[in-house]
Symmetry: C2
Subunit: 390 residues, 2 copies
């Protein structure tokens, strides 16, 4: 990225070594941010002498994740958040009205349309979200052809450690994203690779394949990964055509067939699970109900059961209670529901749990704190994955 | 990321639909940036009423890629860059001394330690860097075990369209990154997947596997992808232990063996190429010279041939001229060198070309404008890949 030969020659003279990309090297300044101390306090710093107000916003609970930063005489803004529970966290600085990443932190992820700087607090569940010295699985970004949509569609597939060298076949978890997400959401925001590697290393989960398709009917893949390129801006799925039109759920068998054809899978109900978060939880619920002979394990993570936004009369979605009852009668090993007490979907999800009670459909209901957040969805995966295929 | 139940309920009341992640949705403001017009002019905008100075810096040639932006009465800073040649470009805003991404552009990549916003200008070579409506290959992030380093090491592998359904075997290009890079560099900054998909679709390149290992001896993988997690900050490789100690080149056969074991490869010299940029160009040159029976195609993209920074007396690097002569005598189909006239390594690379002339080693020498830049390395891949395995 060096702009001209004069700079290059200067750098060459000064350093005398291969420093081709000097101006893209890390750390222009001397400050460290975020700085994580042993007692799980985190200090954030931003050098910005001219700014009038800098606010830190993060996805932790303390103060609703909001702190005003204070400027010292050298122009460095600072604040410390104390005693964060172990987790992976995301944050931004709001600098006089502009939301920015932490310029000294190169690690980030995109949640729908916003980029966030990230860090991990260890010594707890954050350890499951970290890369550890354990055998690693592989992550594959590939495409399947959908006859239904008459298009190639993108999907992400995790294969467990040892997969390539094994002549075994593996069970499969189909794992769906939420509105505004895509086939990259679980592996990026959800720390899927790290969670699975770590659960498998501890023998808490059995080695399994995890298939993460794009669940947006009108999209072939994630923003930037389709022929729309950078003209496709991230957005809630409800802004897309065909939102909850039943097509994804109706055509889901194409994804199973693709997986069974190209991966070493065990091709039966006992070795298939389906789960999803929010919109993907609704989709998982419908797909499993419509294909009662396909999945023995169902996971609904904060599922999007707010039926008022859905036409429940279309073929794919109708007669739900009868379908659920039939599905249960055929036998399910696990029907797992997770929701946070502060989730804005708490009521419809609790109502759904009560409906299952009434229908006498056995299920596991897991309620924890907080709301409709990746922080919870990662916990639900940590809870759900160890219960599969045992 | 919604912080509390009150906000959630409010949003639910106002919108009545699943808008769980409303505050991470795209576009808080109404401005568009970057806005690309038909004549390849690009307008950049930033809403920042309180800022005193906003500078745009990008990797285009005009004005050395630097433009002062102007603020209008509403507090929106603007500048337009006219008639950009077709390419993929990266840029930042410098806002009163803080380097930030464009807040309205969710697309970015990391080059060593800096994040850049990106956009594509089409109707030229930028088309090769775009996702088009063509068959797509797959990208695999996986690990191999190195007995040499006694560690698992990460690598990225591209398999061409049709690979999974074919019973054919494929030729392999081993493609190495530069100092400060990693196993993700070619697929992210280098647009490898898009370039290969597009060249193969046009039948300009034959379908091939591309293997992109991590070439840093002391690192297992990219920043954030190893057990160091976010404590491993991106840096020029020269800051790492074992920089150019010969170990990567000496142990490279482990990567070939891994590839030949796990992928459908044609396992002979005629169907193997090796290429690299900068540090990786030096590595490719050495590996090919030390294994003269392994590679029929060699590509050196701005290779790091500044020997003053390298101990050329160690076993792996010594007797270079004899090795090159022997390699040439055994037969090479293509020995390709690419360099920009403004590259700070222009002189040592030109000297190397003259050395090959003197040794009567046939080679293709490709010289273009500009310097030590991804803009050039993508061009070299566009030039090199079509010449392989024909």
């Amino acid at each position: 990225m060096i702009k001209n030969i004069f700079t290059q020659i200067l750098l060459l003279l000064v350093f005398g070594v291969t420093i081709a990309q000097q101006n893209i090297d890390f750390k222009n300044g001397k400050i460290i941010s975020p700085e994580i101390s042993n007692n799980n306090s985190v200090t954030f710093r931003l050098e910005s002498a001219n700014s009038k107000q800098v606010t830190l916003t993060g996805d932790w609970e303390e103060n609703g994740g909001k702190s005003e930063m204070k400027k010292d005489s050298l122009g460095t803004w600072t604040t410390t958040i104390n005693h964060l529970p172990s987790d992976i966290y995301s944050y931004n600085f709001m600098v006089d009205g502009i939301k920015i990443l932490d310029p000294t932190n190169p690690f980030q992820f995109r949640d729908v349309g916003t980029l966030f700087s990230i860090f991990i607090i260890n010594n707890g569940k954050g350890d499951y979200y970290s890369v550890n010295d354990v055998p690693h699985g592989s992550l594959i970004k590939t495409w399947y052809h959908s006859d239904y949509y008459k298009a190639d569609k993108r999907l992400t597939i995790y294969t467990p450690p040892g997969y390539a060298d094994s002549d075994k076949n593996y069970p499969v978890l189909y794992l769906l994203h939420g509105s505004g997400g895509d086939e990259n959401a679980w592996s990026e925001l959800g720390r899927l690779t790290q969670i699975m590697d770590n659960l498998i290393a501890e023998k808490k989960a059995v080695p399994m394949i995890v298939v993460m398709p794009n669940g947006n009917p009108s999209k072939q893949g994630a923003p930037g990964e389709t022929k729309e390129n950078f003209n496709y801006l991230p957005s809630s799925s409800k802004n897309f055509p065909r939102y909850k039109d039943g097509s994804f759920e109706s055509s889901f068998n194409e994804i199973i067939l693709f997986t069974d054809l190209h991966f070493k899978t065990i091709k039966n109900k006992s070795n298939r699970a389906i789960a999803g978060l929010s919109m993907g939880g609704f989709q998982a619920m419908i797909i499993a109900a419509n294909q009662p002979k396909s999945f023995n394990y169902i996971g609904l993570f904060s599922p999007g059961l707010n039926y008022e936004s859905i036409n429940m009369q279309i073929d794919t979605y109708n007669n739900l209670d009868q379908k659920l009852k039939y599905q249960s009668n055929l036998g399910i090993k696990l029907y797992w529901i997770g929701v946070g007490k502060e989730d804005f979907l708490y009521k419809p999800i609790f109502d759904y749990k009560e409906k299952l009670d009434k229908l006498k459909i056995p299920h596991n209901y897991y309620e924890n704190s907080r709301g409709h957040l990746w922080s919870n969805w990662r916990i639900y995966l940590l809870e759900f994955a160890p219960k599969l295929f045992k």
